[in-house]
C-alpha cells in the first residue's frame, strides 16, 4: 500500500512537469508578445526593449521556462502585467473564494446525486426511477451558464428574493452574506448531482444484478445488510468520479463566476485572458491544474485503500 502510494506520487512528478510545459508552450504558441500588446503604439523601441528585459521576455525560451518554473516552485509567480500587483496574492484570494463555492456545491451535489441515484436504482423501472433519471439527465445536459441566467431571472429579476451579483459587502462577515452564495451554489451543484446520480444508479443496478447479491439474499440476509454490501462495492468508482467532479468544479466554475460576478479564479482567468495578463494567466492555470493532479492522486490512493484489486 505504501509502495503503491509512493509510486503514484513519483508518477505525478512528470505529469506536473508536462503540465507546466504545456502551459508555458501555449503562451508562446499564441500570437502576439504580451509587451507589444500592452505598449502604446508610439512607444520607442528602446522602452519596449527595456520592458521586455524587465519581464525577462528577451531571454531564450528554454531559459525563460526554467526561470519561470523555478520561481513558480518557490511560490513567486511574478507581478501582474495589468496592475503590477504580485500574482500570488490575487490568486490566493480568488482561490479562497472559488473554494467556498466549490466545496459547498460539491457537498450539495454529491449528497443529492447519491440519494437520487440510490432511490432510482432501488425503484428500477418504476416512476421514481423515471422521474429521478430525468432530473439527473437534465443536470448533465444543462448549459449551466444558462441555468444561472434563468435563476437570476426568477429570483432576482422577476422577484427580489436573492442578490444577483457578487459576494456582497466586504466589511460584513461571511455568514451575513450567505444569500449571495445560494444561486451560484445551486447552479454549480447541478452537474455533480447529475453525473454522480447517473453513475450511482448504473453502478448499483449492475451490482444488484450480480450473483453474489442474490446469494446474500438467499442466505437470508435482510434488506439492510444486503444494501451495505452493495454500497461497499459501489463506493470505489463513485469516489473516483467525485474526485474528478470536484476538480471540474474548481476549474470549471469560470462560466458561473462570470455570470454571478463572483471574484474567484474563474473570474481572474477570464480577466487575465482579455487583458492578456500572461503572468496571471499562467499562474492560475498552473495552480488549478496542480490542484487537479493532486486530487486525482488522492482519489487513486483512497480507491486503492478501499479496493485491494486496484493496487499494483
Amino acid at each position: 500500500m505504501l509502495v503503491f502510494a509512493g509510486r503514484r506520487l513519483l508518477q505525478a512528478i512528470p505529469i506536473l512537469l508536462g503540465v507546466s510545459l504545456v502551459i508555458f508552450g501555449l503562451v508562446h504558441v499564441a500570437p502576439g508578445n504580451p509587451i507589444d500588446m500592452l505598449m502604446p503604439p508610439e512607444a520607442s523601441p528602446e522602452i519596449i526593449a527595456q520592458m521586455k528585459a524587465a519581464y525577462g521576455f528577451d531571454r531564450p525560451l528554454h531559459i525563460q521556462y526554467l526561470l519561470w518554473l523555478g520561481r513558480a516552485l518557490s511560490g513567486d509567480f511574478g507581478i501582474s502585467v495589468f496592475n503590477a500587483a504580485p500574482v500570488l496574492g490575487q490568486l490566493m484570494t480568488a482561490l479562497g473564494n472559488t473554494l467556498v463555492l466549490a466545496v459547498t456545491a460539491a457537498a450539495l451535489g454529491f449528497t443529492l446525486g447519491i440519494v437520487f441515484g440510490m432511490t432510482a436504482a432501488l425503484h428500477h423501472g418504476r416512476w421514481p426511477d423515471k422521474l429521478l433519471s430525468a432530473v439527473t439527465t437534465a443536470g448533465v445536459s444543462l448549459p449551466h451558464y444558462w441555468f444561472a441566467i434563468v435563476l437570476v431571472l426568477v429570483f432576482a429579476v422577476l422577484n427580489d428574493w436573492m442578490p444577483a451579483q457578487g459576494m456582497g459587502d466586504d466589511s460584513l462577515p461571511l455568514w451575513q452574506r450567505l444569500d449571495h452564495i445560494v444561486l451560484p451554489v445551486v447552479t454549480l451543484c447541478m452537474i455533480p448531482m447529475g453525473v454522480i446520480g447517473r453513475l450511482v444508479r448504473a453502478t448499483v443496478l449492475e451490482i444488484m444484478g450480480q450473483d453474489f447479491v442474490g446469494a446474500l439474499s438467499a442466505k437470508g440476509l435482510g434488506r439492510g445488510p444486503v444494501l451495505r454490501h452493495i454500497i461497499k462495492n459501489a463506493a470505489p468508482p463513485v469516489l473516483a468520479l467525485m474526485g474528478l467532479q470536484f476538480g471540474y468544479l474548481l476549474g470549471g466554475s469560470i462560466l458561473i463566476e462570470t455570470v454571478f460576478n463572483w471574484p474567484g479564479t474563474g473570474n481572474l482567468l477570464n480577466l487575465a485572458i482579455f487583458r492578456r495578463d500572461i503572468p496571471v494567466l499562467q499562474a492560475t492555470i498552473l495552480v488549478l491544474a496542480s490542484f487537479f493532479v493532486l486530487l486525482n492522486l488522492l482519489v487513486d490512493i483512497a480507491q486503492a485503500a478501499i479496493d485491494p484489486r486496484i493496487r499494483r
Partner: protein, 303 residues
C-alpha cells in the same frame, strides 16, 4: 465537464468490447429494442427537426439574420411578424435561432469528429504497437488529462484568439485524451483475443488484422462514447462563445446570442433566455439519444 473522464463509462465500454457481441440478428434485435423505446424515438425526431431547421434556415424564415432595426429592438415574444420577438439590435430572434443552429451544431459536432479521428488513430496505434511508441502516446495524453477539461479549452481558446476554428481545435484537444484511452484499452484487449492470435498464426499481416478484426471491435465502443460526448461538446462550445472566446459577432450562434441578450435580461427576460433553451434542448436530446442507443446495443439487458 460532466462525464468526460467518467471512469465508469470507460469501464462499461471496455467491458462491452471484451465480451464479443453476437453479430447475426444483432442489429435486428437492436432495432426491435429501439422501437419499443418511445423516448429515444421522440428525441431522435426532435434532433432531426433541429438539424433540418438549421440547414433549411433560409426557407423557414423570410428575415435576414444580420439586418437589425433600431425601431424594432427587444420586442417581446408573440409580437406580430416576430413570433419569438427581436434581439437587442432588432433582429428577428426566430431567424437568429434557426441560423444559429448551423454554427452551434457545427461547433459542437466538429470537435467530436476530429477527436474521434485523431484520438482513435492514436489509441489504436498505441494499443497495437505498445512498447516505446505506445508509452510515449499514453504518457502525453496523461499530461492533457491533468487539466480540468473546460480550463484547458478556455486556456487554448484564450491564447489562440477567438473564432470558430480555434474553438473547434480547443475542444478537440480536450476530447482527444479520453478517446485515445478508450481506443488503446480496447485495442490492447482485442490484440490478445484468441481469434486475433489465430489470425496471426495463419500468417495474416498486421494491417489486415487491424482492418478485419480489431477495427470492428474498437469502433463500437468509441462511437458510443463519441455520441455521448456531443451533448457535452455543444454545451462547452456554446460556453466558449458565451465567454466571448468562440464565434465572433455578428454571427448567429446560440452561446453568443445568450451572452449579448444577457444585458437585456431586465427588459425582455423571456426573450433573453431563449437561446439557452435551444442549447439545453439540443444537448438533452443528444444525451437521451445516446443513452437510448447504448442500452439498446447492450446485449446484457437483452434477456
Amino acid at each position: 465537464m460532466s462525464d468526460l473522464a467518467n471512469p465508469d463509462a470507460l469501464a462499461t465500454l471496455v467491458g462491452k468490447a471484451t465480451t464479443p457481441r453476437p453479430a447475426a440478428g444483432y442489429w435486428t434485435a437492436v432495432g426491435r429494442r429501439l422501437k419499443r423505446d418511445p423516448v429515444t424515438i421522440i428525441v431522435t425526431l426532435l434532433l432531426l427537426a433541429i438539424v433540418l431547421m438549421a440547414i433549411c434556415a433560409p426557407w423557414v424564415t423570410s428575415y435576414d439574420p444580420y439586418a437589425g432595426s433600431v425601431m424594432r429592438r427587444l420586442r417581446p415574444i408573440g409580437t406580430p411578424g416576430h413570433w419569438l420577438g427581436t434581439d437587442e439590435t432588432g433582429r428577428d430572434l426566430w431567424t437568429r435561432l434557426a441560423y444559429g443552429g448551423r454554427l452551434s451544431l457545427l461547433a459542437g459536432v466538429a470537435p467530436v469528429m476530429v477527436s474521434l479521428l485523431v484520438g482513435g488513430l492514436l489509441g489504436i496505434t498505441a494499443g497495437f504497437m505498445g512498447g516505446l511508441t505506445g508509452t510515449l502516446i499514453m504518457r502525453t495524453m496523461d499530461v492533457f488529462y491533468a487539466f480540468p477539461s473546460i480550463l484547458l479549452a478556455i486556456a487554448i481558446c484564450g491564447l489562440l484568439g477567438n473564432g470558430l476554428t480555434n474553438s473547434i481545435i480547443a475542444l478537440a484537444v480536450v476530447f482527444i485524451p479520453p478517446m485515445v484511452r478508450i481506443a488503446e484499452t480496447v485495442t490492447t484487449q482485442a490484440r490478445h483475443l484468441d481469434f486475433v492470435e489465430a489470425a496471426r498464426a495463419s500468417g495474416t499481416t498486421t494491417m489486415q488484422i487491424i482492418r478485419h478484426h480489431v477495427l470492428a471491435n474498437v469502433l463500437g465502443p468509441i462511437l458510443v462514447y463519441a455520441t455521448s460526448l456531443i451533448s457535452l461538446s455543444i454545451i462547452l462550445s456554446a460556453g466558449l462563445s458565451f465567454l466571448g472566446l468562440g464565434v465572433t459577432p455578428p454571427q448567429a450562434e446560440w452561446g453568443l446570442m445568450l451572452n449579448s441578450l444577457r444585458q437585456s435580461i431586465y427588459v425582455q427576460p423571456y426573450v433573453a433566455a431563449l437561446p439557452g433553451v435551444m442549447i439545453f434542448v439540443t444537448s438533452m436530446c443528444f444525451n437521451l439519444m445516446s443513452d437510448g442507443f447504448r442500452s439498446a446495443m447492450d446485449v446484457r439487458l437483452s434477456k
